[in-house]
Point group: C2
Chain length 208, copies 2
Amino acid sequence: MPKYLRVLSEYEQVNDDRISSSELGRRLGYTASQVRQDLNSFGGFGQQGYGYCVSDLKAEIDTILGKEKHFSAIVIGVGNIGRALIENSFFEENGFNIVAAFDVSPDYVGKEIDGVKIYDIATLNYIFAVKRVDVAALCVPYSAAKDVSERLVDMGIKAIWNFTNAEVCVHQPAVIVENVHFSDSLLTLSYRLGERQHSDMPQKQTSA
Amino acid sequence: MPKYLRVLSEYEQVNDDRISSSELGRRLGYTASQVRQDLNSFGGFGQQGYGYCVSDLKAEIDTILGKEKHFSAIVIGVGNIGRALIENSFFEENGFNIVAAFDVSPDYVGKEIDGVKIYDIATLNYIFAVKRVDVAALCVPYSAAKDVSERLVDMGIKAIWNFTNAEVCVHQPAVIVENVHFSDSLLTLSYRLGERQHSDMPQKQTSA
DNA sequence: TAGATTGTTAATCGATTAACAATC
DNA sequence: TAGATTGTTAATCGATTAACAATC
């Protein structure tokens, strides 16, 4: 569904406020049928004989995805990844508020990045006492991932956005985990590259 | 498949060199059946009555994913994301070689990061003349994504690892695109969080 | 031999696609 | 009214699960 939003935004910039399921499908790489099925499972946003109104559709999807809910987030670890999340306003753009950042390094603690204050990770508990925290972006080194994630769970975090290569909270159904596994992504690329190479005439499709 | 590798590595550190499909499934969140089916589609790596040898299995998967192929990569844009890729050795760990980095900023051009030299993006073409380049990690701002990706395609890049929020090379079947869409990931998290919230007693499952 | 666990086939389930009637 | 395009049902396809025979 987020992909719809992205494609609609790109379409909006150049075209008019109207799009058909077939055009949308073409841009998404889906069939028109697929698109209509998808959109309809959330409600009848289209108009027969006309198509979909782009701005309305975007607004509907915003609501579905909870952009208006303004969940609050903390960032743990302000290395390159953590900083990227803060500096590029990923949270704000998607309806989240960043309420704090954490790190272990005395070089960072006490400073701020784009107005977000950095606290000592040892004081992680306190934030939960004073603010609502829905999501934690986990941007710590692999070695710290297990430990920090367990602390977060104990403190009652609702969701973890995991940027570490660790498999986090696997048997913790109460916590939502969304993984951004760089290595998985790169290895998938590697696999596809290898496939492509040894057979430019694709035969048996296997999907690592 | 990359997930198998990750889980096997974690298992390896604590347990012995043997694992059953059911144990592996438990750790992956798959059924034992699923695991056997997956592994068997690539070859009979297991031993009946015994299970799978962890180190052998890892080696097999390394080969399947092409870790031994040593594809070469360039990084375009050395902001936080680009730097994270270089500094954390993501490429090296997964069998890739970084041959160069590029940026527009005179502050960066000419410098190096962890031994990787940074060139002016205007000179992008030259690298293709002197080195084999298989993959480009696209870590530029949204506004530059379309332009740079088109240049890469013209130059004959084989694959793009896309970190921008743009939909890149959609109708370019010759180029492999692997997307790491942070916003999609965060919005998926947002959606799941919203779902969870308004019904702790889950009913109709819809998957944004 | 008995126990365990895979490889593999068959059954089930869900997701994708095709088709067409409803309707703007 | 005619043309276009959705909403929705039915048909197809693929992926997941279950089951069990093969075999270590």
